[in-house]
């Protein structure tokens, strides 16, 4: 446990020692802010219209604003994850510092968990910026906070599983760019799988079940479904397990 924290701390430090962290946060703030503005503006316009028509059907902030906003963030996450994970192992392999880690009295599992945890914390820091937008809703309205919490839990789980995949990809190459691009391709694929969900054939249902984004939908609505939690947790486990295998095979092949 202690070793995990030592490695995690070092990784976090190097994120914030380079401009990557700040750059990512800034870009995310702009994109998330833009989506938030558009969604809120539409919501405000609709509610004004509905009042003027006199029909006054209930406008739910959770349903109309937060759900769409969180869905958008989950997609933005697909683009951010590769930039967080690409350097995790690729850089250590390139510079030879992997030899320091591998010859220190720590287990591979501890190295992997430490790095993944650092990536997850970095990702959470970025998510936190979007929480500022949501906080505005609380300042001017009365949304239900429980679905929001579930939504963010979903974002964290989705991030965790993409980060685990990214960590694995990063162990397979010495080149950060390749690691980043490959991770991005995988993320994109896991998103695109969802687009064929209208098909009812068996293979299409399997493919759309594999989509990370599809499993986020219930979370966005504020529904905590064990099926989706299990999906995310098992992908996290799979990603980290593959990372451990890949690290081990690195030693046998070298």
């Amino acid at each position: 446990m202690n070793n995990i924290l030592i490695i995690c701390r070092k990784e976090l430090k190097s994120y914030f020692a380079s401009p990557i962290a700040y750059g990512l946060m800034a870009v995310f703030a702009v994109i998330a802010g833009y989506f938030f503005y558009v969604i809120t503006a539409v919501f405000v316009q609709r509610s004004v219209e509905s009042q003027m028509m006199g029909r006054g059907f209930p406008m739910d902030v959770n349903e109309w604003v937060i759900r769409g906003f969180l869905s958008n963030i989950s997609v933005i996450g697909l683009f951010i994850v590769p930039m967080i994970t690409m350097r995790l192992f690729a850089e250590e392999k390139r510079s030879g510092t992997i030899e320091l880690l591998a010859t220190s009295p720590v287990k591979d599992v501890e190295i992997i968990l430490g790095k993944w945890l650092a990536a997850l914390l970095m990702y959470s820091c970025i998510l936190l910026i979007s929480a500022l937008n949501v906080a505005l809703l609380f300042a001017y309205g009365k949304p239900d906070w429980k679905p929001v919490l579930v939504g963010y839990l979903g974002l964290l789980l989705q991030g965790g599983c993409l980060l685990a995949i990214g960590t694995f990809v990063s162990t397979t190459t010495k080149n950060q760019i390749i690691a980043g691009t490959a991770t991005f391709a995988v993320c994109l694929l896991l998103w695109v799988f969802d687009w064929i969900s209208y098909e009812t054939a068996g293979w299409a249902r399997v493919m759309s079940y594999m989509s990370v984004v599809a499993h986020f939908e219930p979370f966005a609505k504020g529904v905590l479904d064990t099926k989706d939690v299990v999906y995310y947790l098992s992908v996290i486990f799979l990603g980290l397990f593959l990372t451990a295998r890949s690290l081990e095979s690195l030693r046998w092949r070298s």
Partner: protein, 322 residues
């Protein structure tokens, strides 16, 4: 302290280390000598548990590298060929990270960092970013991280590669100072380096053990001590082996006389001279004056430098073929 038996490391296409066995006593400095690509780094990586051996065993302080890697790693300080540094960290921060990683308790860290920065003369750059350090400082910082947890065994892969002459002398001095409390293995392809820093030499080539010897033997051969094969025969009467040996041993400049074999009244000896003495003329005169037949007199034995040159030459040929 270190015991390697029948160690073999095979990669997909080639054998990097082929059935190597050696032992290193506590507190010794051992030089790993060989041309590039001989398998020095691979052997060191096996000892540090970075690579698992294909077959054979390696033990450090009584722990097997396959069975108790964590225990072995605790007792080893390792400086790879390229010092494993994080350019975005400060020197002090880096040492702290490595110290914690090696399992030093938090309260001991500041004291250890002070000690190793003084030993490795990096005290004046403690607040600098590693990316701003010069090559010499990086190398010394690499050494500092290897000794931060005060390991029993130090494994240094070409610690002086790429340094300027002054830095090389300083680094060698530093390594000599570390001996005694640590058992040190260092690899190099520079012969004088071994002579100046090590007590024991292990020469490997193409993955095979070419020779192990103490540095005294090595330098004795290098300094021009010669080894001569002599074949003597009685002229009229058969000759006793003992009388010839006594006669040869009395010669000035002879350090050792070895009896090889006796056949058909002929006696083979191998005579070693003291350092820098030429004894062939004296032997010839002594044999003839004693009234014996001198059947053969030729220098034998390759010096380690000759062995080493042969090794490098064959490597160069191999390189050309490719």
């Amino acid at each position: 302290m270190i015991k390697v038996e029948g160690l073999t490391k095979r990669y997909a296409r080639n054998v990097a280390v082929d059935n190597i066995s050696f032992e290193v006593e506590k507190g010794q400095i051992v030089g790993f000598l060989g041309p590039n690509g001989a398998g020095k780094t691979t052997t060191m990586r096996v000892l540090t548990c970075f690579l698992p051996p294909t077959s054979g065993t390696a033990q450090v302080a009584g722990f097997d590298v396959l069975k108790d890697p964590i225990e072995v790693k605790r007792r080893i300080g390792y400086l790879p060929e390229a010092p494993p540094l994080y350019p975005e960290m400060e020197v002090c921060e880096y040492l702290e990270f490595v110290g914690r990683l090696k399992g030093l308790p938090k309260q001991e860290l500041p004291r250890r960092i002070d000690e190793v920065s003084e030993k490795c003369a990096i005290g004046d750059v403690r607040k600098k970013l590693i990316s701003k350090l010069s090559k010499g400082y990086r190398q010394r910082l690499g050494l500092a991280q290897a000794i931060i947890h005060n390991p029993d065994v130090l494994i240094l892969d070409e610690p002086t590669a790429g340094l300027d002459p002054k830095q090389i002398i300083e680094t060698r001095q530093l390594i000599r100072n570390l001996a005694g409390s640590h058992t040190i293995i260092l690899s190099t392809h520079i012969l004088p380096e071994v002579e100046q820093t090590c007590q024991q030499v292990i020469i490997i080539n193409k993955g095979k053990l070419a020779a192990t010897d103490s540095v005294e033997n090595l330098t004795r051969r290098l300094r021009g001590a010669e080894s001569v094969a002599v074949e003597v025969e009685g002229r009229d009467a058969p000759l006793e082996e003992r009388t010839v040996r006594q006669r040869l041993e009395q010669l000035p400049g002879v350090s050792r006389v070895l009896h090889k074999e006796s056949k058909d009244g002929r006696h083979h000896f191998e005579v070693e001279s003291l350092q820098g003495r030429s004894i062939r003329a004296d032997i010839a005169r002594a044999v003839v004056e004693a009234g014996w037949n001198l059947q053969e007199l030729r220098p034998v034995g390759l010096s380690l430098e000759e062995i080493f040159l042969q090794l490098t030459a064959s490597e160069a040929e191999g390189g050309k073929k490719q």
